[in-house]
Subunit: 286 residues, 2 copies
């Protein structure tokens, strides 16, 4: 029977460590979320984050703005938060209205408060193997690999997807010289020729494409490990809609040695590693 690599025990361990550290060090880490507009999925995510923060002792303040906010106003707001010593981390909740320049907004963040790890300095430190804040989703994959003691050294890891927030940073992290690194890493994407031929060589296949059921059973090697980073909303006759991953889980399950579910897999861990970033920021500030 293949292993179902659920995120819950991974998350539980991370939260326990955060809680005990906050108690030991008597810290009150504080995260400010900047949310623009009223995207229901974003609101749902942020509400969950706030609840979780309450439970483990991290203050989370959400600043909500109308979609008519100007670029200058948002930059000034970030400036104030950068200066505010009581604020340890800042997160810019997506989506942003199209009139705003996301790149400039991220550049404005103090790298020491950039909880998403999207500031070029943090991204650069990631590739250079230096200390910095790491983006949540790639880090969540590493946490899962680490928790379940999945050997990566020398293994063929194939990532499908070359996004700035998952595929590329994850590839660089898996090349690091540490417990969850030392892998032989291949990055595939929409231009890849003979995709199945490449994915069938993967000891560990990581799907980060954003297309429901993209990875089918014929694309994976028997007894390999499959990690599904995708979260895709599809229609559901009963519930209206539901979330599925990039992997055709039902059909792949019996072929693999282990696989992450969606929901309940990687997505579960991302919130925990984000909040751990807030703790780290508070530790560094103190």
């Amino acid at each position: 029977m293949p292993d179902k690599l659920t995120g819950k025990p991974v998350t539980k361990e991370i939260y326990a460590k955060i809680r005990s550290k906050i108690e030991d060090l008597k810290l009150t880490p504080k995260l400010v979320i900047i949310m623009i507009g009223e995207d229901p999925a974003a609101q749902y995510y942020v509400q969950n984050l706030e609840k979780r923060g309450l439970k483990i002792g991290i203050i989370i303040e959400t600043k909500t703005y109308g979609t008519d906010i100007t670029q200058t106003e948002i930059l000034n707001q970030i400036d104030d938060l950068n200066q505010d010593d009581s604020v340890h981390g800042i997160m810019i909740q997506k989506p942003l209205p199209s009139h705003l320049d996301e790149s400039e907004i991220v550049m404005k963040l103090s790298p020491e408060k950039d909880m998403d790890g999207f500031h070029p300095i943090n991204m650069g430190n990631l590739i250079l193997g230096k200390e910095g804040f790491l983006p949540s989703t790639p880090t969540a994959v590493l946490e899962l690999l680490d928790f379940y003691n999945i050997e990566t050294s020398g293994k063929n890891i194939v990532i499908i997807g070359r996004s700035n927030i998952v595929g590329k940073p994850l590839a660089n992290l898996l090349l690091r010289k540490n417990k969850t690194g030392n892998a032989t890493v291949t990055v595939c994407h929409s231009k890849t020729e003979n995709l199945s031929e490449i994915t069938r060589k993967a000891d560990i296949l990581i799907a980060a494409i954003g297309k429901a059921f993209f990875v089918t059973a014929d694309m994976i090697k028997s007894d390999s490990i499959v990690i599904d980073v995708g979260v895709n909303q599809i229609d559901d006759p009963e519930k209206g809609h539901r979330y599925v991953g990039d992997v055709d889980y039902e059909n792949c399950f019996h072929k693999v040695s282990a696989i992450t579910p969606v929901p309940g897999g990687i997505g579960t861990i991302t919130t925990a590693v984000l909040l751990r970033n807030v703790l780290s920021a508070a530790q560094k500030a103190n």
Copy 2:
């Protein structure tokens, strides 16, 4: 007969463009090289750079320091150069004495004057696909691919070597969505299992290991393209020593469709792209 992908015509074209731009824009780009100690290879490299600068209209000033310079002194020196509007680019010549903290020195550089592209901000912009200064050696590889119209889109490109200055940045660049990008990229290294099996699948094999004759004919696919980034000094009974690449050129030559020589390949182009960075910095400053 396989193609010998020499660097000279690539370089010639880059220098011609630099020269004409300097004339058109009436600029006097200036590079300051910081050299510590008297490493003969470094001195030789810098002298060549100075000569080349003279020819194309870029002022190159080399500041040489004794190996007893302190970290504070070097940081102060960089501070002065960062402030100096007549200086457009700064390059820290390797090797540095071991008592100096290279990482802190690079961090001190203004990213706008970091000609090597090693500042985390420039590295981060590289991975994020944003504008910034790119490191010379990976850029030289892209220039060669571009000059010889080598198709990368959808091709299997295997890089051997995961260094911060070649393997990792090059992998990220080859994933970009442009003429020299869109490749399916695999990064191999010392921990890779079944290396030959992987390299034999490469449409384009890039060797960046730093080991003489590491890549042998049995490791490459027939009619593939081989790019040799290595520069290794070996003993020579007549000349005392000579430089060879990471690829066993003699034995691989007849199997490939095209290959870069060492010397005379990628290494030739790195100086040109470094000097082009100085021109770009001067353009941005003006």
